[in-house]
Each structure stands twice: as structure tokens, then as C-alpha cells.
């Protein structure tokens, strides 16, 4: 396998591939380093990927497992765990026309086993945790991760502890507890939960997927980039619009594209070297530390106390904030924030033009795409991918009262009378 070691993103100190996440020397974050051999036959490598399982393990060469894929699995059949990934990439011409754009695609990651992109990162983290001998998995979550860790624990027979803010959406709480996890509601916001779990992580022999397993966990998000490129026929989009909570997903999607470009796996329509996409980040105004820093020209984020309906993005103290800022600037992208009203409108716009019902985070992303289009920031010829990370059924309150329906007696006359009024 190509996976090599852990290295500090700041000072480049090297560490073994263990459950470590912070550099002892400078406190910088650790990331997985690889030593890929440059493929001699690109066609053969592409065919091998295409012939792989219909889930993220088709990209096992680019993921941090020592032993390769955890076992045989396909899209609908698996001998090990819950197969994540290979979600649809859907051409959204009606959405594009509405926004005055030419080519918009929706990557619908709600089509994962627990209905969010978190199944990708949890699959990788839990597979690595098992390789390292852990018997208990845990997480600090804003909701989607809670669902995924609880479900993966159940699928693999691992004990799990899930820590969430006590005031999370009911749907996300119910869709976690059902898996039989130990669910802990914390009286505080996500950043309080995260601090508590960082402290607990030092005291327990558990694999906290987004703390001590975080270098492996984060790698799972690269599979979104790999899929998008593969689904576009080994080409890159010109721009990706991606929600930002901690900034990990945002930066790892870009890293996935860069790794494949480096290996020569990607083509460009013009035949020249493929250009990495502009990365446009999306936040809610009620929790926009990265968007605020981007607008102010700062290279660090000032933490905030979140107050937004987009609870899955409500991280006031984003761990990868500095890297997200650097990426948005380097790629010629942006980071924008939208109001709760714009988020509701974004959910509605996506639903009415694509048939995809997303949660509040997807409303944020769609609303930011609409804002960029309105500002004229997107060249009409750009190929844009909108990354939809989660499912609308998990945040139903956001759409309550946003449409009308009629109630009638079961007679034609009653319908005709009501329809006449409605029309």
C-alpha cells in the first residue's frame, strides 16, 4: 500500500501510523502521508478503479489502511460494515437555468447509508480503528456524524459513545439512538462537546473518530473528489461549492483532486494540464467564522458562538479554519455566508428544481451558489459541482410552513371547489 506515515502539516515532523492527531512539537495537526509510485499505465489504473467495489473502497489505494479494503463489498451487498459512497452525481439543468448558469451538477451525498457524507469518513476511521485494535468508537457530533458512528458501531459490533449538543434536531437524535449506541446529550454547544471529548480522549482507550483518529477520518472526504472526477469522465469541475463547518471536508475535497492530478489520472477537455477547481465555501451567517475571516483578509478565524438553523455546520471554532481560508484564496474561490431565510430558500430551490430534498447544510450550499451566480462571480461557462452533504428528512422543521396544501372532503365537488379557490 502507498500509505507511509503521519506528518505534521505545520513543521513536517513524522509520526507512525497510530491513533495520533497532534504534533507533540508544535501542536499542529497531523495528516496522512503517502508514497505513490507514478502509474505507468493510466488506463490500467482507471480500469482497476472502475472494476472495484461500488463504494469508497474502489479508492483503497488512496486511503490510509495498512491492510487494504476491510472486506468484500458492493453497493448493496457487504460482508464488512456499511458500504458508503458511489452516490449519484446529477446534472441539474433546471437549477442551472434558474441561476443563469450553463452546467451545474449536484453530488447528492444524502444517498449514503445514514444519509450524509459522514459515512465516508466514519468508514475509513472505523476501519483504521479496527486495524489498530480499538473495541470502542466515539465522536463529538453536530448530528450527522452521530448517526454514522452509531450505525457503523452497530454494523461492526463495536461499542460506541456519541456525544451531541443536547438541543440537536429531534430527527438527528432519534436517528442515532435507534442503533443502540450510548448517546450522551451535553448541555452546551458543539464546541463545548468537542472540548469535553478532547479531554475524554486522553482518559479513555477509545477511538474518537474525529479526534485521535482524525487524520484517517479526514482522508475519507477525499473520496468525494475521486467520485466526482470519475463520474465526470476523469475530468475536473471548474468550481465546487462545499459547506464549511470545521473546514475538513472543504480542504480534503481539494486534496483529492490534487492527488489525482499529480498522478496523471485526470484529463482536461482542452487536452492541456487540468486546472484544479475554484473552491467556494459555504457557511451560515449565524456561524461564519471562516467567511468573516475571508472577508476581512485574516488568515486565522476568530471563534463565534453559533446561532443558526444549520446546526450540522454550527462549529464556532473550526479546526481547519486557517487551511480553508488559504485554500479558498489559493484556488481563486471564495467563502460566503447566508441567512436562515436564505437557507430555507436554498432548500426549496434545490427541491423544486432537482427533486433533491436536502437538510439545512445543503440549503446553505445551494443559497451560496445562488448568491455567487447573482453576484456574477461564476463564469456562465463554468462547470460547477454543488456538494450536497445531507438529507432533508433530518431537519424537517426548516421547511415547516414554507408551502400550502388544501384539505377536502372525499368528493369531486369538494375538490373542484377547493381547486377553484387555489387556482
Amino acid at each position: 500500500m502507498a500509505v507511509s506515515h503521519l506528518e505534521c502539516k505545520e513543521c513536517k515532523a513524522e509520526y507512525p501510523l497510530e491513533a495520533l492527531y497532534v504534533c507533540d512539537r508544535c501542536f499542529g495537526p497531523l495528516q496522512v502521508a503517502y508514497q505513490h509510485e507514478h502509474p505507468e499505465d493510466i488506463g490500467e489504473l482507471r480500469r482497476r478503479i472502475q472494476g472495484g467495489p461500488q463504494n469508497i473502497w474502489r479508492y483503497a489505494d488512496f486511503l490510509p489502511l495498512a491492510g487494504g479494503p476491510p472486506g468484500p463489498s458492493g453497493r448493496l451487498a457487504s460482508r464488512v460494515g456499511l458500504p458508503a459512497g458511489c452516490t449519484p452525481l446529477i446534472r441539474a439543468d433546471r437549477l442551472a437555468a434558474h441561476l443563469g448558469l450553463r452546467e451545474v451538477w449536484v453530488k447528492n451525498d444524502a444517498a449514503n447509508p445514514t444519509h450524509s457524507f459522514k459515512d465516508r469518513v466514519v468508514s475509513v476511521a472505523v476501519a483504521r480503528a479496527r486495524e489498530l485494535g480499538f473495541e470502542t468508537i466515539a465522536c463529538a457530533s453536530t448530528g450527522n456524524l452521530a448517526n454514522s458512528v452509531a450505525a457503523h458501531g452497530a454494523a461492526l459490533g463495536l461499542e460506541s459513545y456519541v456525544f451531541i449538543p443536547a438541543d440537536l434536531e429531534e430527527q438527528k437524535v432519534l436517528a442515532t439512538g435507534v442503533y443502540g449506541t450510548r448517546l450522551v446529550g451535553v448541555n452546551g454547544n458543539y464546541d463545548d462537546v468537542n472540548r469535553l471529548c478532547t479531554e475524554l480522549c486522553a482518559e479513555r482507550e477509545w477511538a474518537f473518530v474525529n479526534i485521535n483518529l482524525r487524520p484517517y477520518y479526514a482522508e475519507g472526504s477525499k473520496t468525494l473528489a475521486f467520485e466526482i472526477a470519475e463520474q465526470l469522465g476523469w475530468e475536473l469541475p471548474d468550481r465546487c461549492v462545499v459547506p464549511i463547518a470545521s473546514g475538513s471536508l472543504f480542504t480534503k475535497i481539494a486534496q483529492g483532486f490534487a492527488e489525482w492530478r499529480e498522478l496523471g489520472l485526470l484529463d482536461s477537455a482542452s487536452g492541456s494540464a487540468p486546472q484544479l477547481p475554484r473552491m467556494s465555501g459555504a457557511q451560515a451567517q449565524g456561524c461564519s467564522p471562516v467567511a468573516s475571516a475571508f472577508a476581512a483578509g485574516d488568515d486565522v478565524c476568530r471563534p463565534v458562538k453559533p446561532d443558526t438553523i444549520a446546526k450540522s455546520l454550527a462549529i464556532g471554532n473550526p479546526a481547519d479554519g486557517p487551511y480553508a481560508l488559504e485554500l479558498a484564496r489559493r484556488s481563486g474561490g471564495s467563502v460566503d455566508a447566508v441567512s436562515d431565510e436564505e437557507i430555507r430558500a436554498g432548500i426549496s430551490l434545490l427541491a423544486r428544481t432537482t427533486g433533491i430534498f436536502t437538510e439545512t447544510a445543503g440549503g446553505v450550499t445551494t443559497a451560496v451558489l445562488a448568491k455567487l451566480a447573482e453576484r456574477g462571480e461564476i463564469d456562465p461557462d463554468e462547470r460547477v459541482v454543488l456538494v450536497i452533504t445531507g438529507e432533508g428528512l433530518k431537519t424537517l422543521d426548516a421547511v415547516r410552513g414554507t408551502f400550502e396544501s388544501i384539505e377536502i372532503e372525499p368528493t369531486v365537488a369538494s375538490f373542484d371547489a377547493a381547486a377553484a379557490i387555489a387556482a
Binding site: C26, F27, G28, P29, R195, A202, V300, R302
Partner: protein, 91 residues
Amino acid sequence: MAVVVKIPTQLRAAAEGQAETEVEGATVQEVLDGLFARFEELRTRIADEDGSLRRFVNIYVAGEDIRFLDGLATPVGDGAEVTILPAVAGG
């Protein structure tokens, strides 16, 4: 005033293996100075050359991030708990 400082695992080797220690100080800065006086190596680990905290270090007083308070000038009462943690977690 005696303050309890909780030391993260990543720094314990530089603090004689201790998970927490008691130092004197009326502000976070004074508490850190007291901590660095006792364990000199900690200074280079969590502070830059100009004395400011490295960007991936979070400090909490009674569970609250000092960036929501007065930063390094945040007052700490007798018996207060100051927690040093890595910022790179979660999400």
C-alpha cells in the same frame, strides 16, 4: 492565588508526566508564566517566540475559551481551572 492547570497528553512528557499541576497567578498570562517557570520546555511547545500562543493551542478558563473572554489577560480566581488543549479536533 493557586490555580489548577490541566495539561494535555501531548505535553505531559515535558511536564514530568503530570496531567495537572498547581501554579500561582491572577491572569491566564501569569498562570502560563508560572507554568513555564516550572517546565521551561512547555514555553516553546505552545507559545511563539514573541510570547503569543501558537495558533493550534486552545486555552479554557472554567470551560470557556479565553478568546471569548479577555485572552491572556483573562482573570482567574482562586481554585479556578485552566485547561490547555489542542485546537485540532472535531468536525
